[in-house]
Amino acid sequence: MALSFQDLIFRLQEFWGRQGCVIQTPYDVEVGAGTMCPETFLRVLGPQPYRVAYVQPSRRPADGRYGDNPNRLFKHWQLQVILKPSPPDIQDLYLKSLRHIGIDLRKHDIKFEEDNWESPTLGAWGIGWQVMLDGLEITQFTYFQQCGGIDLDPVPAELTYGLERIAAFLQDVDSVYDIAWNPPKRGAPSFSYREVRHADELQFSVYNFERADVATLWQLFELHEKECRRLLDEYGGTGLQPVDGEAKRRFPVLAAYDQVLKCSHLFNLLDSRGAISVTERVAVIGRVRELAVGVARAWLDQQCADVRRPRPAGSPSGTSPSEEAVVAE
């Protein structure tokens, strides 16, 4: 019996949990991809090792299809894994995770096909592949090289599983809406993806394409941008000088990052509303990137300055660099 949607998630979490990953929960601000969550965007910066896995519902307003299209969704579920630094057997680990969800590699065709990832809004890019399973793209596999405009050292590996696609494959259904979300149990019916999510897809498509008020969205964008900029300026602008010591440790850089995520999501909404021309597009992406880069630098500066902070939870023991190394950075 093929895995239900939720069992697929459980299995992958179980697998990566055993590999020393912190199993996180989805971030509670709208994001376009699991990469944007602080657990990836900020944790990949700097020398601290980290391993984390989490499900992230990812909103892409322009991809909505009113729940009519069997393969395209406004909001899809990603399972995001970050291994920092990337271990030498990362590809084997990944293939083992596929076996763990019931894919017999002797009976299926797996290919790693070149696909480099880039996010202009985050000033981030990496080198990697799309992993193809019998002709279906199921995972984006990336060695991060840069994030927030900062070169990454050590190099993290990011695995992003497309959960709907994998579930539809395992259950052999042609429409994501026919995926069984949970297994039937003791007479209780199983719920389908349609039952759980269809209204969500329909209503948000209507909002994103037809009803969202463009003027309000622009206002919100500017408010969040302003708030982020204010915080970054207080932290020390681009020079990153004035704040130090205890004040630095307490400074809400993470809150500033939430403002970046808000801006990014509002940009996507405006885009799906057709409110951004091609020329404007580049300029607005530039504005969001400037904020993202500012936060990345502030966060890194904060990490390096604060030698007393506790080691991030879940970082594999024995591989954490010494505090001297952190200070030297």
Binding site: D109, I127, D134, V155, D172, D174, G274, V278
Partner: protein, 693 residues
């Protein structure tokens, strides 16, 4: 196992398929250069065997094999000369001290300048086993890739993908070195699923056999053959019953090569799709299959697309049918999408999309695509006279609608189908065939191998579109530099040249450049730019020799088909016995005139009464006759043949007549004769540009 055999295998994570062949070329070159630098015989040094390097690859390994590599550098012997024998003994001792040898070891050598103290320094060549460990990391990390990464940290090495294994054996022994923490050894690895992860290697033949036993076909040619053989077998087995002709594979060498380098053990299988999808245009179905899914498509007996596809797995087979089932499922979803887009797009005819084009930016300083379309329409009308066969109104309509497909869902999804989709929609929406075909073709030719637009209207629209882009971009300073050409301006200009050639359009390039009204500076740059493209076209596409092209373009480069005809004539006549000597004579004439103050000093015809009887008068009479008989002709080959026949007369003239005569009038008239000859017979090509072999 030969004791001098060397081979290297770089084991990596999957390298992008299209980078593998160039990487192998570099690997071979770097090894040969390295061997040569180390005096191990790379390029076939004196006394050394010629070293051959064979390279092979799969997505996970780059390998080089040298059947025989010299086991050491040759010994060297060098004669170092010191002070003259006659110099004081201190000089001799100082020389010996400098070399660190006993003065008694010095000998005397005699040179034309006298006798000198000298020392014969012999150095033993180093062993190859001592030299390779330093060479190999340099070679491996020296392979250039279009985009590299680091994986062990910023201070680590860069490569295309992480290196996970290194195998290096010389004479059966490991060449020790390491890269990014990976130590070289005597082990390889098999296919991910079909093979063992660690395999002991002793020699190259055993390596190949072990790989084969472990699911890796190392040689690309064997993988290619296997795919084609599988496909042929599948097609033969699946012929519809009673069909007299067979289904055939649609050839696609580029895709086939991709599949060869995406697999270590390729197996082809055939899938089916619902024939109902064949209602969609073939172009769309084939794009989905080939570009997006990397499937080979199949023609039915009549050459139409069959509801079948060939896919290639990186495995030894699909006994459960699960892989075929999965691929069919993915294709179905893709086709459903395409059908959905096709149907959605039909609700808004192309003409109704013009206002939407106003929101699609062509280039920020050059406005929207709507503005570009308006300029293209104006240009089509302006240039119509140069394409006399083109129905102007149809071409103008096509130019108006040509960019509208940029707003369709289908083109947003399959950008490579721009133009084609517009043409298909125009036809489906009842536009005349001339309009639809012109839209369909207006991005063509996209390369020198691609065909030009099929119809005159298509040629006209394509010319207008490309010329507008070129004039616009050059006018705002966006001309290509080096390898950076984001607006594909080289391709655009090359396309203009090819269209003019393919459609035999005698449109002067200078007027085509001027038509979209570029800035003055841009017009000048474009002239140079087109001259380069024309030169490239004549040499690389048409295969004319560089001096033939120079000779022809020196006379005129404004009319493309005319320049081709003249090149063709030069190529035909060049092998005849008189041609090259005549070229030499023309060069001589040019030199004489240059020394006498330049050809422009001697205008008009020579005065017959001043010509000396004999060689001079004879030359003029003959030349005049040939000139008069050919001056109206455009039969360049005949003109050249007739011109070449003047060679004996020219030779006799130079033998018998002194050009720089004593008497001023005679001399001047003689130079005028030469200047006239030069002008009269360089209508086809400037012979002096021909390099005489």
């Amino acid at each position: 196992m030969p004791s001098n055999e060397f081979f290297l295998e770089i084991g990596t994570e999957e390298i992008p398929d299209w980078m593998i062949e160039p990487a192998l070329d570099h690997l071979r070159r770097l090894l040969l250069e390295g061997f040569e630098k180390l005096r191990l015989g790379g390029g076939g040094q004196a006394g050394m065997p010629v070293t051959t390097v064979e390279t092979h690859a799969t997505p996970r390994r780059l390998a080089a094999y040298v059947p025989e590599l010299a086991d050491r550098q040759p010994d060297t012997e060098e004669l170092l000369t010191g002070p003259p024998k006659a110099a004081p003994p201190q000089a001799r001792e100082a020389f010996a001290r400098k070399l660190g040898v006993d003065p008694g070891k010095l000998s005397v050598t005699s040179t034309p300048k006298g006798e000198y103290w000298a020392f014969k320094r012999r150095e033993k060549g180093k062993k190859t086993t001592e030299l390779l460990p330093a060479l190999l990391p340099e070679v491996v990390l020296g392979i250039p890739f279009p985009k590299t990464m680091y994986w062990t940290g910023k201070n680590g090495p860069r490569f295309i993908r992480p290196i996970r294994s290194l195998l290096a054996l010389y004479g059966g022994r490991v060449v020790p070195f390491s890269i990014a923490g990976v130590k070289s050894g005597a082990y390889t690895f098999g296919h991910r699923v079909l093979g063992k992860p660690r395999i002991k290697v002793t020699g190259f033949q055993q390596f190949l056999e072990e790989l084969k036993n472990n699911g890796v076909v190392l040689k690309a040619a064997e993988r290619r053959e296997k795919i084609l053989a599988d496909a042929a077998r599948l097609l033969a087995a699946a012929q519809p019953e009673g069909s007299p002709r067979r289904r055939t594979l649609r050839e696609n060498p580029t895709l086939l090569n991709t599949l060869v380098y995406l697999t270590e053990f390729p197996t082809a299988d055939m899938g089916e799709f619902d024939p109902a999808y064949l209602e969609l245009p073939e172009e769309v179905l084939v794009t989905v299959m080939q570009h997006h899914q990397k499937y080979l498509s199949v023609s039915d007996a009549a050459g139409k697309l069959a509801p079948r596809f060939i896919f290639v797995m990186n495995l030894d087979g699909d006994s459960s049918g699960a892989i075929r089932h999965g691929n069919e499922r993915v294709l179905r979803a893709r086709f459903n999408d395409a059908r959905f887009f096709w149907e959605t797009d039909q609700k808004t005819p192309l003409g109704d999309r013009l206002p939407m084009l106003g929101h699609v930016t062509f280039q920020s300083q050059l406005g929207s695509y709507r503005q570009k379309a308006e300029r293209n329409v104006a240009l089509v009308r302006h240039l119509a006279a140069f394409v006399p066969q083109a129905p102007v109104e149809h071409a103008a309509r096509a130019a108006e609608l040509a960019k509208c497909d940029l707003t369709t869902e289908l083109v947003k999804e399959f950008t490579e189908l721009q133009g084609i989709v517009g043409g298909l929609y125009a036809r489906a929406q009842g536009e005349p065939a001339e309009v639809a075909d012109a839209i369909y073709d207006h991005y063509k030719p996209e390369s020198m191998e691609d065909r030009s637009p099929r119809t005159p209207a298509g040629a006209l629209v394509a010319l207008a579109d490309k010329l507008d882009t070129l004039a616009g971009c050059f006018s705002i300073g966006l001309k290509p530099s080096g390898s950076s050409d984001p607006f594909a301006l080289r391709r655009a200009a090359q396309g203009v040249v090819k269209i003019l050639a393919d459609h035999s359009l005698h449109a002067p390039l200078s007027e085509l450049i001027a038509a979209p009204q570029p800035s003055q500076a841009a017009a000048a740059q474009l002239k140079e730019f087109f001259l380069d493209r024309l030169r490239y076209y004549l040499r690389e596409v048409r295969g004319f020799r560089y001096d033939e092209v120079n000779a022809v373009l020196a006379v005129g480069a404004d009319d493309v088909p005319d320049a081709i005809a003249r090149c063709e004539a030069v190529r035909q006549v060049r092998p005849t016995s008189n041609f090259e000597p005549l070229s030499a004579a023309f060069k001589r004439i040019q030199n004489i005139l240059r020394k006498a103050g330049g050809v422009e000093q001697f205008r008009g015809d020579p005065e017959p009464s001043l010509l000396e009887a004999g060689a001079e008068a004879e030359l003029y009479a003959q030349a005049r006759r040939v000139f008069e008989e050919t001056k109206e002709s455009r039969d360049y080959e005949t003109i050249l043949r007739r011109t070449a026949e003047l060679r004996p007369a020219v030779d006799t003239f130079f033998d018998k007549v002194l050009v720089m005569a004593e008497e001023e009038r005679v001399r001047r008239n003689r130079l005028t004769l030469l200047a006239w000859l030069l002008r009269a017979f360089t209508r086809v090509a400037d012979f002096s540009e021909i390099v005489v072999s």
